[in-house]
């Protein structure tokens, strides 16, 4: 990955994408996830997109196709995951966790003809079963501008933890 070139705007598909536009997209997603609106969440993806969470010992450059990971979802698996989470039989999330997400340190970087990269920090607080857990890390997403706004091509959450703490299984969307 090349160094971050411009933190305010990026040129893509002949458009100028601004950081506030990307921030609004990410804040909107956080809101959608915290309200457990999984159809709304799916609508933020372009068909064929991916969702990945590398393991906590991840080193930059590792490919999920060549290493172990926590989540390595292609489009079919994203659909299966959403369908599962909407089911009452997703026992690990029934009743649902309560989550609260903070997204910050948003930066735009490297862009191609039709996509660009976004990095951002997250803190997700999650309440469940009398426990309150925090997940900290950063996003490394690939976004595409479309007629209807920005969409995920790759949604990638990288944990800042040394290992996943007790009770902190990733049964919800991180």
């Amino acid at each position: 990955m090349t160094a971050i070139t411009n933190t305010h705007t990026v040129q893509c598909q002949g458009r100028t994408i601004t950081r506030p536009e990307v921030e609004d997209f990410l804040y909107g997603e956080a809101d959608i996830l915290d309200h457990w609106d999984y159809d709304g969440w799916l609508a933020l993806f372009e068909p064929g997109a991916r969702y990945e969470i590398p393991t906590t010992d991840y080193r930059p450059g590792w490919s999920p196709h060549e290493t172990g990971s926590f989540v390595d979802d292609d489009w079919d698996l994203i659909l299966a995951r959403v369908k599962r989470l909407k089911s009452r039989k997703a026992h690990a999330e029934n009743p649902h966790s309560r989550t609260h997400r903070l997204v910050s340190n948003v930066r735009l970087s490297e862009h191609t003809e039709d996509s660009f990269r976004v990095s951002a920090s997250f803190v997700v607080h999650r309440a469940r079963d009398g426990h309150f857990d925090a997940y900290v890390g950063w996003y490394e997403h690939v976004l595409v501008p479309t007629e209807d706004g920005l969409r995920f091509r790759l949604r990638r959450s990288i944990l800042g933890h040394e290992s996943l703490a007790a009770g902190a299984r990733l049964s919800f969307i991180l």
Partner: protein, 439 residues
């Protein structure tokens, strides 16, 4: 603690086994100090000077390969005053230097240097006595490295017994052997370690607990059945589930979600295996999934793909888990990518199935509080009787029975050294410990 009744056909385990701090301490002192423990796979440290640190039974260890290529496990504790010597989690080094007073050790354990050594009565004996402390026993079977903190444990192969061959079958799956990949799933669970063992040996929970995953398999065109799935009690606390009824296996059993290219690769590989191993052995290696438990801390999930899972109890109600993916050394990149996606979609704390398993045993841990210190002590037992009627008749236990769990618990009670821990009523059938002939 355990009541086994062949008149009533019941097997009951007292729930203190999952809750009690005293039992946890006993496990540390007996099971984890006097039994072979799985440390790691040789391929995690492939090159001379590679090392990883790992905690086993609460003891910090260095798992390394020395400059000459020999595998070691040292207590990660400076012989001088006990400081943790290596504070990196992994890497490559010839020398381990303690930061406290700068004593330095070679990666074969020899003391290399003591600053201002002339202050000591500098005999060779003194130097020799100040080398790194290795674990008393270390043996390797098919790349799986086991250690024991007790020098008097029986040879590893004796301990592994019938489990050893299932590990060999994994190594035989591919002509170039298997290797672990980087990207370790490390997570912690709010539940007793024995609940994780029970869950892995429990085919009964599959349909209800993994309803959403079964639905996903069905939608992707795969039939899921409970037929011809068996549980085996391999002795020494080891257990085995043989599963033929769900999920494909990468390069072994094709299913539609794997795609056409993988169908071709699978057929070719199956033919190569029959040639190399003979049809009978190839059948056992390729056509059924295995979940193998090696007492006390190793689980091998030989299912869609291959996951090694290691259990490290940290408290009565908390367990650290580490899981690695084991893959064919020389694998087509497309097959590898498919394998990783498929394995991770099922196994691990972010998959579509494991989170429900974790939910289940965390819920047990919370739920069994209900019968703690009750005025009616008979209530404080968990039931594992399923399949005992078949055991009496000499019928092979199904994967949906609880026979493999019973084997685990019988060995456990012996291993923790609790006198009178097991009460047996009635006559135990003689045949239920039999393994299977797959050679």
């Amino acid at each position: 603690m355990i009541v086994e009744d062949w008149d009533q056909l019941t097997f009951r385990v007292n729930r203190e086994a999952y809750r009690s701090a005293e039992i946890f301490t006993r496990e540390r002192g007996w099971v984890w100090t006097h039994t072979w423990l799985y440390l790691g796979h040789e391929t995690e440290i492939p090159n001379p000077n590679d090392f990883k640190v790992r905690t086993l039974g609460g003891r910090p260890l260095i798992f390394c390969r020395d400059t000459a290529g020999e595998v070691h496990a040292f207590l990660n504790s400076c012989p001088h005053r006990g400081t943790v010597l290596c504070r990196e989690s992994e890497g490559s080094t010839r020398l381990f230097q303690c930061f406290y007073h700068a004593w330095t050790f070679r990666n074969n354990g020899d003391l290399a240097a003591i600053p201002d050594a002339d202050a000591y009565e500098s005999t060779d004996e003194f130097k020799a006595s100040m080398g790194l402390r290795g674990v008393p026993r270390l043996e390797i079977h098919e790349g799986y490295v086991f250690v024991a903190f007790d020098p008097d444990v029986p040879p590893l192969l004796e301990h592994l017994g019938d489990a050893a061959d299932y590990m060999t079958m994994i190594e035989q799956q591919h002509v170039g052997g298997m290797t672990t990949l980087p990207g370790t799933q490390q997570y912690s669970v709010r539940g007793n370690w024995k609940l994780a063992v029970e869950n892995a040996m429990d085919g009964y929970h599959f349909a209800p607990t993994h309803n959403t995953f079964v639905g996903y398999l069905r939608e992707s065109g795969f039939a899921v059945t409970d037929d011809n799935q068996y549980a085996y009690n391999l002795g020494n606390g080891h257990g085995l589930l043989v599963l033929t009824g769900h999920g494909g296996r990468i390069s072994m059993i094709w299913e539609p979600r794997f795609g056409e290219d993988e169908r071709v690769r699978t057929e070719q590989h199956r033919a190569e295996m029959a040639e190399r191993l003979g049809e009978k052995r190839a059948h056992y290696v390729a056509d059924e999934s295995h979940i193998l438990f090696v007492f006390p801390n190793l689980l091998l999930f030989d299912i869609e793909g291959l996951s090694i899972r290691q259990l490290e109890p940290v408290a009565p109600d908390q367990t650290d888990v580490r899981a690695w993916q084991l893959v064919p050394r020389n694998e087509d990149p497309a097959a590898r990518a498919l394998r990783m996606k498929t394995v991770v979609s099922f196994v691990g704390p972010g998959g579509l199935a494991t989170p429900d398993d974790i939910e289940a045993y965390e819920a047990v841990q919370r739920g069994i509080q209900a019968t703690a210190d009750t005025a009616v002590p008979e209530l404080d037992y968990s039931d594992m009787s399923r399949g005992m009627a078949d055991e009496v008749k000499g019928v092979q236990g199904r994967s949906t029975d609880e026979g493999a769990m019973r084997g685990f618990w019988r060995h456990w009670i012996e291993a923790v050294g609790l006198d009178d821990g097991l009460a047996v009523h009635g006559d135990r059938p003689a045949s239920f410990l039999e393994g299977r002939d797959v050679r």
